[in-house]
Symmetry: C2
Subunit: 561 residues, 2 copies
């Protein structure tokens, strides 16, 4: 297997008889999946998603793939395939289309429906090509074939890409539930056919590659819900992901079986389920769905609320219920079911919500104490099946942190893929496949692109460092006006502190020291604004460090008069 | 069981024939455990620990129990019992002793040794009383008896408190490993004796009360370590908690069995293990321990590093190794064992370390993929044994978030404790036990006390809110000097932004608007500094909100000339 800790130079120009593969996101991270395939000067893109920020990126709304490599190649793009409708696969499409809005978007009915709703909010009218499993499409020099895969959202696709220089099978996100609610299984017969045709490079979902065994059936959750619904005495509130149509389907069925009405809560939940219902992916038992505003017309034991907020998002309905800040008041005997995963990093927020709900007397069911969630990703056991059915010549694990990519590569190795045909790469690495054999030939620049409010890519790592300093230490602002003829202060120093463990008055002590330091600097002819600001910064910094043992950001402004 | 969501008034004066119980920390949280027992005007304290901050408390070093209730009662304190030496039980002692340094501190040999080392750093010479299991002590009107309990640190004690108004058994933190390394089991015979004497109120550790079954044996980890050591080809690095003497003991034994030397890494690890060795709690196989600076004298396959940093703490040795910023360079074939829990909230930091180590070629073993950690707390099954052996008349779960306290209360209920004798309380609630029957009678003020640098309790919730705004949005500082006679600007506006997704120049557009707004205000006679600053704040705030869709902190300074 390749090693991660190497330095790579710029890649050579692409060989026209090679397929060049570059991931601009999704390697070394769970999210912002985006992979480019380049052949004979044309570029095919698979997925274009967002990554959600961590604590180390305060205030960031979203993180995008780095499109820089495409800057002068926008017209070479022949199409963008969206494997399914999750945000980490479609969320960055609006930002790519801002650069060229007529890139053909290929996807299944449900995927495109969700994508179009998103693009409408961005006022973008896209060019779309609806495809389904079994379909073939030609995009420039790429022949595509779409294969059904099962995932935690309906209508997901894998794509088989055929070129004169080799073939690539890209699974997208998938698992292999053998009894899915909609009967649409991952099409292993089609995987086998592709394998017999010959798969030179197999890109597979690594998310659960370090989880032993097999992902349980979605259907099993239905039985658990049935049982919980049978014993619930008052209201039931279920929280899950807003795109998890089958999870909502099972809630609707359990509700219907127990004579309860379901109201959807949360903007994205309402929007997605309306789309799913219109397109026939969600089958609502007659009379089961009601509008949230009619909930009070029914007794508590006839109500189910199906809500977002399963990750403890502070503004979501569930968090607001937990803190008593929502029109739905939680009380003794209510049953809350978190039918969702617990995404790493969200633990404290989720436990805060659980504690808040329990404090109000609710019975809280979650994956820690009942089988109310199954993952959407193939575990190690399923991936072994895939490798043995496809028998790829080479493998490139995608969609995962380093630990997941390595675990997935190890599974490929165990099924007989030679170590030197297992490509472990990072975002931006350039993998050239010549005569069907992949090799890392260099890397292109590929960083983090932060969306913050209306700005895209303007916030830098340095800004985030500033923010972390401000968060940890606060700041001290010092303003003064100096008579440059003699160094006397005409106004100030005015000192304001925020986020520092002291009130402004504590800083009165330092004011004479500042005046003295400024006067001395002027006498020594260090009297321009920059120099004087440095003097103030140093004087205050030393004092704060020594006396308060803190290192806040120090912001001096010297006005010269 | 009592309900949490009630408002409580100040308590009535204590009845001399009651035992008053007040937790100043440890209820509704995992940490800063501290419980007061008040009888006939005297106060006995059990534990005085710290809580570690979460993301919502940026820059905070520690959180202390709220000592306000003790402000005018310091002289009534007859003693402070420390059940064991973990930070969440002893960490706040220095801060309490700053208020009265001769409070008698009672604890076992190892607990007091760790505490004294800590107090020495704070330059405090304490009054200590060393006790051991079986000992009895009288402190004012309290008769105490100490019982051995097993925990993830040696020499932990429970305390049986007897007064004329009832008895209390407080477990401290504990579990019931039946084959502990030191043979020192939780003394259920003593628990049974206390039960026969009569336990009016039983305070029990709730940390793992929602975990079904039984906590596994510490000893089982030894076998797993043996197996890992047998197959490791290069260096082995084990990370765990710096006070986990038995975990380190097992590492030493596995190392010795495989001809490896062990070097301790991390200041607290070195200090605690020196103490443990001196007092005989750690038994070092002859010739096994070496100093870190001699590691390079041995081949890689004869070395074990025993390190701190198992929670992904960025400054700890392990994190620095993962980012290539430590003298120990990680390479292909190294084995890293995280023999520790994963404390909620630390997931991202720990996975960052794991990914970094794997990226460098290391094989990383952690509780997710091997049995290299067991908890130090009793699971639900063990707590049931306790309740059945003690048969308490009433129960008050301590040491846990709301979800843990409720789960623990439910276990008590299942063993037959009447619901109205299960006290679910919050920090500051006043529980009076009259004739052996506890009842919530009110609450005292009890908040969060933040330690930040050298300041204690000066940082407020408002400061933290400021910090979170600064973290999420950054700030904009605007400085200008105004001629108050006509509203003309004499200097500025100088605009500086930090942590905002734009550079300073973006703000040039707003400068004429500020000048105009200030001039207008002066003409309207709104010309004092506060009014003009408000004008500037509003002008900039509107512009930033509209144009950048951000809400940074806006810090205007107007100098009047």
């Amino acid at each position: 297997m390749s090693r991660f800790d190497i330095d790579l130079a710029s890649p050579p120009p692409a060989d026209p008889e090679s397929v060049r593969v570059i991931a601009l996101g999704g390697l070394g991270e769970i999210g912002r999946n985006m992979t480019l395939f380049e052949y004979r000067g044309k570029i095919l893109i698979v997925d274009c998603g967002v990554l959600f920020p961590e604590d180390e990126q305060p205030g960031v709304d979203l993180i995008l793939p780095d499109f820089r490599y495409l800057d002068d190649r926008m017209d070479d793009i022949v199409g963008l395939v969206l494997t399914h409708g999750h945000e980490d696969h479609i969320g960055a499409v609006p930002y790519l289309l801002r650069r060229r809005n007529d890139i053909p978007l290929l996807g299944s009915t449900f995927t495109l429906a969700l994508l179009k709703a998103k693009l409408k909010e961005h006022r973008i009218a896209p060019v779309t090509v609806e495809v389904r499993e079994g379909d073939a499409e030609q995009l420039g020099p790429f022949d595509l074939e779409f294969l059904a895969v099962n995932h935690s959202i309906p209508d997901a696709l894998a794509v088989f890409i055929k070129t004169g220089a080799g073939t690539v099978l890209h699974t997208g996100d998938f698992k292999m539930d053998q009894l899915p609610l909609d009967g649409r299984i991952t099409d292993l017969r089609a995987f086998a056919r592709a394998g017999e045709e010959g798969v030179d490079l197999f890109l597979t979902d690594s998310t659960n590659s370090d989880v032993p065994g097999f992902t349980a059936l979605e259907k099993d959750i239905g039985k658990v819900l049935e049982d919980l619904f049978a014993h619930a005495e008052r209201r039931i509130i279920v929280a899950s992901f807003a795109s998890h149509v089958h999870r909502v389907q099972q809630v609707l069925e359990a509700a219907s079986a127990h004579g309860r009405k379901v109201a959807l809560v949360g903007r994205s939940m309402v929007r997605n389920m309306r789309i799913a219902q219109e397109l026939g992916y969600l089958k609502v038992p007659p009379g089961t769905l009601i509008d949230l505003k009619h909930v009070d017309d029914y007794p508590d034991d006839q109500i189910v609320l199906m809500s977002t907020g399963s990750q403890g998002e502070p503004m979501a309905a569930l968090s607001r219920m937990a803190s008593g800040d929502h029109r739905v008041e939680i009380g003794q005997g209510d049953t809350i079911i978190l039918a969702s995963s617990l995404i790493p990093g969200n633990e404290n927020a989720v436990y805060r919500v659980i504690n808040g709900l329990m404090r109000l007397g609710a019975n809280v069911i979650h994956k820690g104490n009942a089988k109310v969630h199954v993952s959407g990703h193939a575990s190690a056991g399923e991936l072994l099946y895939c490798y043995n059915i496809v028998r790829p010549r080479a493998v490139m694990p995608v969609h995962g942190e380093v630990r997941h990519l390595l675990a997935n590569g190890e599974l490929a190795r165990q099924t007989g893929v030679p170590e030197n045909r297992i490509v472990l790469a990072e975002n931006g690495w350039v993998v050239d496949m010549v005569k069907g054999v992949p090799d890392v030939v260099g890397a292109v620049e590929c960083g983090m692109v932060f969306v913050d409010g209306s700005s895209v890519g303007e916030i830098t790592e340095a800004d985030l460092k500033d923010r972390l300093v401000l968060a940890g230490e606060g700041f001290v602002s010092i303003v003064l006006a100096v008579d440059t003829s003699n160094g006397a202060l005409l106004a100030g120093p005015d000192i304001h502190v925020r986020g520092v463990a002291e009130n402004d008055a504590v800083f009165d002590d330092i004011k004479p020291k500042i005046a003295q330091a400024v006067a001395e600097a002027v006498q020594e002819n260090k009297a321009d604004q920059h120099q004087l600001q440095q003097v103030v910064r140093r004087t205050v910094g030393r004092w704060v460090g020594g006396k308060l043992r803190r290192r806040p950001m120090i912001v001096p402004t010297v006005v010269l008069v």
